[in-house]
Assembly symmetry: C2
DNA sequence: AATATACATAAATGTTTTTACATATCTAAA
DNA sequence: TTTAGATATGTAAAAACATTTATGTATATT
């Protein structure tokens, strides 16, 4: 099949959906969504602070944070010994609202 | 530790987050998010129709649909030989908008 | 320079998901 | 009551993820 304007449009749509799925998978984990939640409230926190809040083991949390950063959900800035994490785009917080807004859940 | 009002409030919050993670995981797959997308547009479709649109193998699609139904995302109604699927709660479509609204992705 | 703190990375292991393939069930029609 | 069409289910192999434990690296402090 040859590309038509329509099929190109469809492919772009598809890419967006793929991307959405990719991000959603990255968010669909209790620890990771808690990170989003807390960074939604606190603007930025270092790893130890997040660890305290969530009570997760250090290496495990580090894995989750790295994953989220790799996937473009979080960003970091070092400050001395500490590394501060924050949301790359704060509109992602809407996801939590969106889910909680669904009556069916 | 004994429950205080605060800890109860926290636990409810935590449950919401858990629930959100659960739903997001259920949605975080290319095929499944495409199903949501298409049912957002078409209101209801039978399995063969969805299959045509998405080009996924029958049994595999069926598994995904069953999963989504079990998790409260979709509902079904039989009509003769066909089974029609639709969104349990159409506000779930906002998730797609939400993701696509994030500049960072 | 030695030590402590904060965080990341690597490797091993366990768990869950995804997919494929085979087969079963339900319904309508012949 | 057989057959065909539509969809579901069982199961096993493969792939992806999550977790743990151990170790590494960067930075600051002594």
């Amino acid at each position: 099949m040859v590309d038509t304007e329509e099929s190109i449009a469809l492919r772009i749509e598809t890419e967006k959906l793929q991307r959405a799925a990719y991000v959603l998978k990255a968010v669909g984990h209790p620890t990771r969504i808690s990170v989003i939640d807390i960074l939604g409230q606190c603007e930025r926190l270092n790893v130890s602070q997040i660890q305290e809040y969530l009570g997760v083991e250090q290496a495990l949390l580090s894995h989750h944070l790295t994953t989220m950063r790799d996937k473009g959900i979080l960003k970091t800035e070092r400050e001395g010994k500490n590394i501060y994490y924050s949301l790359m785009d704060r509109t992602i917080m809407n996801i939590i609202q969106c889910i909680n807004g669904c009556k069916s859940f």
